[in-house]
Symmetry: C2
Amino acid sequence: MGRTSDARERILAAATDLFSRRSYGSIGVAEICAQAGTPKGSFYHFFESKQALALEIIDLQWNSQRGRWQRILDGDGPLVHRLKDLFAFTVEMQTASLNDAGVVSGCLFGNLSLELSTGDDPMRQKLRAIFDEQVELIRRSIEAAQALGELTTIDAPGAAKSIVAQIEGTVLFAKLFNDPGQLDQLWANSLRLLQVADS
Amino acid sequence: MGRTSDARERILAAATDLFSRRSYGSIGVAEICAQAGTPKGSFYHFFESKQALALEIIDLQWNSQRGRWQRILDGDGPLVHRLKDLFAFTVEMQTASLNDAGVVSGCLFGNLSLELSTGDDPMRQKLRAIFDEQVELIRRSIEAAQALGELTTIDAPGAAKSIVAQIEGTVLFAKLFNDPGQLDQLWANSLRLLQVADS
């Protein structure tokens, strides 16, 4: 048993690790507690359920990832360069997962969307809100680039959504083929979705 | 109990229905047999395991879907019109799922890729082969359209892959938002990935 004082953090860390490597449905509270080195009783002291824990992990991951997306998209230089940096960040995350865990774990939000979205309503609401925010962050950047005359894209919300869909579909390939190199085409494909000549 | 003579078909039908509505990991052999109205013993008479059953269902679905893809893509008329028909078929499948089961079930191959691809090797091999075939079917159509001077797309394999990724990412949104209307932009976005003006 570890110290009680950090049991909550150890449960969060163990579950984050397990959820990145296996499906949500295949992981039980007992396994999370075993990996965290905490008794099952202390789990329910901190979390109402596995779902409550998962919702907190999704929040933590999106808060961290949103910060990174904002810093990249609000940076200087032409939008297309910032998008290139955003995709480099995606490659970096998947490469880190391959190096640390031996597998490309994909996108937690996409994984849970396809595993649970027909059944788990609080999760579905949260995942919808995250993807809406991702589209919104990119849409705002596209509109700022339009205002500067950088882009001639006509439909900013549609283009933003198509880029987020392209990220999710490409991350699916990276996970299935266990190969972050699948993500290399993301930038060129996004330029096409934005109707920009390659640069 | 139903008749033994069609027990195998009833197991396949029950599992296909369950796999389209819930995650693979959440469904056990007992539940499949209960829905099929067959004793558990007869399950193992026909299938070695849940995995063996799932592999057969994936084959059946892809054989049927591949036939439809081929008929559409090998049809007459400009490629862009055939792609429009391919996406109409995708919308039709997801709308049928919404009408029949009350949920947009998404793409079985994409769902299983994100749920299982870090862990289940026979499944991963099969899913990789299916996505490779999808990319190949579209690549051949693009190259045929290039040969006719219909397209100026330079990188046919890259464009084909980006279209399949766009389908998967967009189907993810359709499932998460339980709305086949999310697929409406697929055609316009694919024309951009092919570097074709909207038509």
